[in-house]
């Protein structure tokens, strides 16, 4: 059986156009890079300061001054650019990032993402997520459809929002959904699932 994370990452990768500038969140979203062809001319931004992030470096070749936004060692592809935090978030907030892919705790029926804290439980901080959701041209949420069988796509979320701006696409291992002014639309059902299953696993109304 295919891993849910792989299914999600592969499907998100199909959304990435050649020659674009893409920011992948840490964790599941970072797997998307594995499914983008090398000749696509896609540049990945790590918001801590590089455009043109590459894969993990060979053992022993790591540079402590070249890491991703999670602090992990990376490489830089030919044509990479090193930037400071002001420039990095200038690109993000200024609409220069074509696509950002972020993980999610919950998404509400209006397509608004919550992914940075669970009051009373987990307060990691928003890092760059609020700027990314507010500023990137296209925001894709990549997350499992449920958390221990509890829907993560809900009518209303009790969690603090990451941004008032609705995301553009939600990709789970079960489905692809898009927020619209009339609510969430079910665009695709993943192979091995059916629409009824998706609806049962979802806490918000889905139109076709």
């Amino acid at each position: 059986m295919t891993d849910a994370r792989e299914v999600i990452a592969r499907r998100v990768a199909a959304e990435i156009r050649p020659g674009t500038l893409v920011n992948l969140g840490i964790g599941l979203p970072s797997l998307v890079a594995n499914y983008i062809p090398a000749d696509f001319g896609v540049f990945f931004q790590a918001e801590n300061g590089v455009i043109g992030m590459g894969a993990r470096p060979p053992e022993g070749m790591q540079d402590p001054d070249l890491t991703d936004a999670g602090g992990g060692f990376i490489t830089a592809v030919p044509g990479a650019a090193a930037i400071d935090s002001a420039m990095s978030f200038g690109l993000i907030r200024g609409g220069h990032i074509d696509v950002t892919v972020l993980g999610g705790l919950e998404v509400d029926e209006r397509g608004r993402l919550a992914n940075w804290m669970i009051p009373g439980k987990m307060v990691p901080g928003m890092g760059g997520a609020m700027d990314l959701v507010t500023g990137a041209r296209r925001v894709i949420v990549a997350m499992t459809h449920t958390n221990k069988d509890r829907p993560k796509i809900v009518a209303r979320t009790e969690l603090p929002l990451t941004s008032a701006r609705p995301v553009d696409l939600i990709v789970t291992e079960m489905a692809v959904l898009a927020p619209t002014p009339d609510g969430l639309r079910l665009l695709e059902v993943a192979p091995g699932h059916d629409a009824a299953q998706v609806r049962r696993a979802t806490g918000a109304a889905l139109s076709d």
């Binding site: 001054d65 070249l66 090193a82 978030f89 990691p124 890092g127 609020m130 700027d131």
Partner: protein, 217 residues
Amino acid sequence: MKQAIRATELAALVPDGATVMIGGFMGVGSPERLIDALVTCGRRGLTVIANDSAVPGVGVGKLVTAGAVVRLVASHIGLNPETQARMNAGEIAVELVPQGTLVERIRAAGVGLGGVLTPTGLGTPVEDGKPVIEVEGRRYLLETPLRADVALIAARRADYVGNLEYFLTAQNFNPVMAMAAKLVIAEPEHIVPVGVIPPDAVRTPGALVDHVLGRAT
């Protein structure tokens, strides 16, 4: 020409209760020797402005562990459980700021602007208590400038007049913080003669730097 200082001189420059900006991102591009010096001299009551508190034993994480920090302004503390524990125990007041807002608030102070008008944080808890200004039909949060008494800056190289050069992702908050503090102390990995860093490679002009930490002896 700057005088190189020793780590032991830092105590006299950073008093208890000071507001200190510290460069770095998850410990990358952090002035580790200057941080160690603050721990060694037993500093207390610091307000630290930094992107994150790294992990225990690294960068700002060392100051958290040492109990030197009473207030932390940062965008992320999720990878340091000690920061979370001390926050929950009421020992550290944490102000969480979106990363792009954090760097612009620091920049605003450094470049003499009165604040930042950003869409980031609207409709979230970040908006609470802040003025919303409408410009050309769109709404923006007004975020205030962030200043510090001291900025501790990590650089790849400094020259004798204090020009700083950074390397890859170790740049992050360092050049912006070097503009926003009354006193700027740089910790370079290498100190080179004037002229070795060409004018176009300088990201922090020496005029912004008050002291350069000498090489470890």
